[in-house]
Amino acid sequence: MAREGVLIHAPYERMTEEQVEQIHHASMQILSDPGMISFNSEAAEIFHASGADVTSITSADNPCWSIRIPEKLALYAIDSAPKVVKLGARNKDNSLILNGEEPRVFFVSGSEANIWLDIDFQSYIKKSNHNVEIQVPEFHPRRGTVLDLCQAAHLCEHLESLDALIRPVNIQDKDVTEDNKDVNKFFASLNNTTKHVMIGLTNLEQLDNVVNMARLIVGGEEELKENPIISFITCLVKSPLQFVDDTTQALIEISRRGLPVAIAISPQGGTTAPIKEDGIVTQLNAEVLAGITLSQLVNKGTPVLYGSVPVRVRLDDLGDSYGAPESSQYNVDCVQMARFYKLPCYSTAGVCDAKIPGIQSSIERLFSDIVVTLSGPQYLHCAYGLLGGNATFCPLQAVLDDVHFQMIKFFLAPPQINQSEIDVSLKQLEEVMRTPQKLYIRYIRRMLRNGQLSLPYPFEAGGETDNVLALAYERMNEFISQPVEHIDSATTSKIFQEIPGILPRLNVYEEGREQ
């Protein structure tokens, strides 16, 4: 069994077939000339050994290479990359099957905000009438910690629409260092959700510790191949067209181990890529194909996701504007390019510019949530809880997002229209016409009880008031008070014995820490 996601029957596409071909050819042209610049030596060697035209363009203290990737190499990689990628989970029912030829969307949280936004409610009394008192939410930003990450994963476990976890908050505790960060973020995530966990590595040296942890959880190397409960994101390209040293090395090592990896490219339209739709999509497409080519040259058949995170620039401060409609246009086009190559796509929606939960955040995120979902990416990083670009994670916002996605999923269910349904309706009509009141109300009940009707917006308040945030806050606390299935105690002790660096406070079986 695997999660169902939502199948898009007629994916929304902006480009004609001819336009897709034009982008494809232009990307091939970019790959062969000017090609990529690589700050990673091994990548240069690998491309060179495979017949790419590699020349050193090293300046004084900065070794780097120009790599011109011939079209046939890129086409070989597109061909050898798997069209179906399985992402496993601690609870196998939470596995995801990403099929590049089937626009079935899975909704995923993400990614790595530095700030955690706490909420509390304060009372205010009306100046002109002291009997009127209202509750107003206050938001308190602070640096995220590893226990916040535990809580975020715990919450995500209970969000019905959420299919997999990309850790939404960066852990910045004093005792978290570059050396123990990876094991702690993976353990905190894996121990608090039974859904799939995808994470970017901080320190490549920790890769084997992380992989071993996952092996301990599933019971061995083969088991992990069969049920890859973890996968990785690598942002190996710095746009335009540059392989960064460390993340490129990470992609090489992850590919060697055959674990699933999203090759996520994030150019900013206007600064690091053209602001024009065709320009940014062509460049991103070339960059992602360069990454995919590298992964396939290292290890043919490495499960990769075509990862696109394009965003338009803001004009006031040159920051990212995920709320801009252009950002959604770019994303939708990239999904279409991935589908053209039949590769499973990691896409982006829901990131908003607003800094706190409210009207702006809802409008911005819901807009891209709907349009990008309709385009049918298999793995949609849709920013549950993220605010202010991706500077901030607010658990309350994640609860609101869950409801948005339930509505979107409901809307996308295929229509149930067939002769027997029509017969039922005709019979209802005949019955109603015989009654004096001529109302169909009695037939609502069956649909309601069968779960065929959408439920009312759960955070609606009475009268002329808006109490959404307070009601969502209650819901959030309910989720947090529900238990999650942790890794069992025997495996936990094994992990603590064999994997160095995990903070003792993450051990739920230790005295006084049992939850």
Binding site: P436, L439, I441, R442, I444, R445, R446
Partner: protein
């Protein structure tokens, strides 16, 4: 006998009027519903008063509680009310000379010029389910027809519905007509519908304004108390 009454109550809660209804749980199609059980109760010589009080009314109370607790929605409430009102139609002949049979006669109409009737129908169904004898006069009913009806059938309550700001004026005209004919005090007038308000009710001299059918039930209970 207790079994039949318990089943009756349960089927009111399920909103199953007849054996063909599936109710809330959906697993009892084919089993007797409120109509069949009411007949069975009569055949078993259970007094109609007991059927009403212990079966129908207590069942309806549970339904009201579930509605208040947001476990039930309006369609559930209506299904139960319809089932109860079906039972009352059966019981009516057996109760003819007993006062306990009905909480009173309630006539309801959508006023002249107005054809909206969804709200009016819902109110009628709910009131019938709550134990009132309801007479639905229909839509687009002019004041003179209402006067005629009140004179002849002497209802305890008159409900007027209007959804348009233009037709709500016909409510005032109706009350004036009742006055002119000297029968205004024979009947309590309740008004409702999207166009009207508490203020408007006072302005035209109606006895009460009701937001919805549930409110109407409460208002009527208050009237009963005052009367007692």
């Amino acid at each position: 006998m207790e079994d039949i009454i318990a089943l009756l109550k349960e089927n009111v809660i399920q909103g199953r009027k007849t054996k063909d209804d599936e109710g809330v749980d959906g697993d009892s199609i084919g089993m007797p519903g409120v109509i069949e059980l009411t007949q069975l109760a009569l055949e078993s010589n259970i007094p109609p008063e007991v059927i009403i009080e212990e079966g129908l009314t207590t069942g309806m109370q549970v339904v009201g509680d579930k509605f208040a607790a947001k476990e039930y929605f309006v369609p559930d409430m209506l299904a139960s009310a319809e089932a109860v009102s079906g039972a009352q139609d059966i019981l009516k002949p057996y109760l003819e000379d007993s006062d306990a049979m009905s909480k009173g006669k309630f006539a309801i109409a959508t006023v002249k010029g107005d054809i909206h009737d969804i709200g009016k129908n819902i109110v009628a169904t709910l009131l019938k389910g709550a134990g009132y004898e309801v007479d639905d006069l229909g839509i687009n009913i002019p004041p003179e027809k209402i006067v005629e009806y009140v004179r002849e059938y002497k209802p305890d309550f008159l409900g007027l519905s209007a959804l348009l700001t233009t037709t709500m004026l016909a409510m005032g005209e109706t009350i004036e007509a009742l006055k002119e004919n000297g029968i205004r005090d024979s009947v309590k007038v309740l008004i409702g519908g999207a166009a009207v308000s508490e203020e408007f009710a006072q302005q035209i001299g109606a006895d009460a304004y009701c937001v919805d059918g549930f409110h109407a039930i409460k208002v009527l209970e208050e009237f009963q108390k005052v009367k007692a």
